[in-house]
């Protein structure tokens, strides 16, 4: 198979803005989160999607996993349009594309033990009851946890452990594509490395395609083979990860690279690259574009 596993074709996504009164008076407007985005992700690719808040990177993740539908354009999995695959129910799509969320504490049901959470996911995949327990142990081992975690509730776990459970739950569906939306940004730095190394190993061993959404260029550099830089709902630059980071062409990519803390090497003198990027957005409108 040579075609892309996941494709976005001229995808736009906008959300209605303003309250009921605005709408009644015909003053409503739409916030454009994605504006004509096309992207091909090949099987086995590890793609980093970077950008700041308002760049549309999380909207893109939501579309790819099937949590939202595009306003226009098409999302395809293995060449088949999402609308077709989801016509009757979302099951097949969701099984093949799974997501790991940023905030592991709100992504897990606080009343369900780890074993129950994973067990229910396995049931969705049709794993018979007798096999579930052994599969739960396998999944926990896969993410570097022991079976003693099974009976615990989410609040009894550390942030790093919870994020591993989020990953185990996604892997329970045996997905082909994994989407990780800022999976380590809520973790302490000493735990980030553990989770990133785990993601890297699993992607390789299970032959997963990974979309890694992050604002951290250095993490993307460690993990990803390709990078997609987004700004204000559009892709401004993409290519092989190391190439783009070493020879960024777009001024915005250059500004992002300049903004990465560099320790002693970055001792502060006013930085020209940042001045080029323009001042901070002063108002909310500046961030979201003309509304």
């Amino acid at each position: 198979m040579t075609g892309p596993i996941l494709s976005l074709r001229s995808v736009c996504k906008s959300f209605p803005q303003g309250g009921l009164l605005d709408r009644l008076l015909g003053r409503d407007s739409r916030l454009v989160a994605l504006d004509d985005v096309s992207l091909d992700v090949m099987r086995g690719d590890v793609v980093g999607i970077v950008g700041e808040s308002g760049s549309g990177k999380s909207t893109l993740a939501g579309l790819a996993v099937g949590l939202a539908r595009p306003t226009s354009g098409e999302v395809l999995l293995d060449g088949q349009p999402m609308t077709e695959l989801m016509r009757n129910h979302a099951g097949p799509w969701r099984r093949r594309v799974q997501m790991v969320f940023q905030d592991s504490s709100s992504a897990l049901n606080p009343r369900k033990s780890v074993a129950r959470c994973l067990g229910e996911t396995l049931a969705l995949r049709g794993v018979p009851k007798v096999r579930r327990e052994s599969e739960i142990t396998e999944l926990l081992t896969l993410v570097g946890l022991g079976p003693e975690i099974g009976p615990r509730l989410p609040h009894e776990l550390s942030g790093g452990q919870r994020q591993r459970i989020g990953l185990a739950r996604a892997l329970a569906m045996k997905p082909e594509v994994l989407i990780a939306d800022e999976p380590v940004s809520a973790l302490d730095v000493s735990l980030q490395a553990q989770v990133i190394n785990l993601l890297s190993r699993l992607t390789r061993e299970l032959g997963l395609t990974l979309l890694f959404i992050s604002h951290d260029l250095a993490l993307v550099r460690t993990l990803c083979s390709r990078i997609v830089v987004m700004r204000k709902g559009a892709i401004v630059e993409q290519g092989p990860c190391l190439d783009v980071l070493e020879r960024p062409r777009h001024p915005y990519t250059q500004a992002l690279i300049a903004a990465v803390p560099k320790g002693l090497a970055g001792r502060r003198t006013p930085s020209p690259a940042l001045a080029d990027a323009g001042a901070d957005p002063e108002t909310r409108e500046d961030i979201h574009g003309a509304a």
Partner: protein, 321 residues
């Protein structure tokens, strides 16, 4: 060394736990800040870095309280003065900006009102003069049309600009010490870089001493003179930024540096620190990092090493590197 502007001695902060006992989160912290010096306090969540500085500002809320130590600002023990005196010092001699600019501003008042309130509380000036000082402070933090923006409400500003407003409020009365608690963490990276630039610039121009609290050693190293590394409620290392960056002595500092990837150098698996940060009340008797430390030896888990000074570089480790 010049006499310290701020000197924190044996500071302890505890929480009353459900069973009536005390759980200590800051367990005997010592460090000092010289006039005009910029000090970074680096540590992960639960290290006690923010609690220590809230204790310095006397802003700890129940159930946390100071259980020991002294905080000397210019010869005066902030933990011993009455509330009235503390209110006079807070905002005038020592000011603090927080991580979340959204919740630090009153959404119902214009930013002009919020800054002039601070000015009015500390300086006997006319309303007009207070507004002039407020506009000047806003201008200094890089807000265009400062006088015009005094009438704006917080929601009309972006996150980065709100943080600038808070910094303006903090410096309006020309304090000698500015404490910044993760001031850029909630912001986008390009905005974050500019806030860090701004703090470095204000320090230079106003001769401010700065305490910059962060979990990011690389970020802190760009603007501070000295780094204090905290772990499990203790200072584990404290030294000049060059020494901390190039030749850290505590294994935790070294690993903290190694586990954060950079934009240069070879690409490969990251150095991980095994285990998880310690939980309050479950700290070992000895070095708090010993359960995760690759170099841990016999006394590490049972006996806390002293913070030993060597030419301005202090390390609390049985086997320093």
């Amino acid at each position: 060394m010049s006499p310290a502007l701020l000197s924190v001695e044996g500071l302890r902060v505890g929480f009353r736990s459900a069973d009536g006992g005390m759980v200590e989160a800051v367990r005997g912290v010592d460090f000092s800040v010289a006039p005009g010096e910029a000090v970074g306090i680096v540590g992960e969540s639960g290290s006690g870095k923010s609690l220590s500085m809230l204790a310095v500002m006397r802003l700890l809320g129940a159930p946390a309280r100071v259980t020991g130590g002294r905080v000397i600002l210019d010869g005066e023990d902030l933990l011993a003065v009455d509330e009235k005196r503390m209110r006079a010092l807070r905002g005038r001699d020592i000011a603090m900006v927080f991580q979340d600019p959204q919740s630090s501003l009153n959404p119902a008042l214009t930013i002009g009102r919020q800054i002039t309130d601070v000015v009015g509380a500390h300086r006997n000036v006319s309303t007009r003069e207070a507004r002039r000082i407020a506009a000047e402070a806003l201008e200094r933090v890089g807000i265009r049309d400062a006088a015009g923006r005094l009438a704006s409400y917080p929601h009309e500003f972006s996150g980065g600009m709100r943080q600038r407003v808070l910094i303006a409020m903090a410096i309006a009365c020309r304090p000698r010490l500015l404490i910044a608690d993760e001031p850029s963490t909630a912001l986008d990276v390009t905005v974050q870089a500019r806030i860090v630039d701004l703090i470095a610039e204000l320090r230079r121009e106003l001769g401010l001493a700065v305490v910059f609290i962060s979990h990011n050693l690389q970020l802190v190293a760009e603007i501070v003179d000295r780094v204090v590394v905290m772990y499990g409620g203790k200072v584990v290392e404290d030294g000049p930024v060059e020494a901390i960056e190039l030749a850290p002595r505590h294994p935790y500092t070294g690993l903290l540096k190694a586990c954060v990837p950079s934009l240069s150098g070879p690409v490969g698996p990251l150095t991980a620190i095994e285990g998880a940060p310690p939980r309050l009340g479950r700290l070992p008797a000895g070095c708090p990092f010993s359960p995760r430390c690759p170099d841990a030896v016999e006394p590490c888990a049972s006996e806390m090493p002293a913070l030993v000074a060597d030419a301005g570089h202090r390390t609390a480790c049985w086997r320093p590197r």
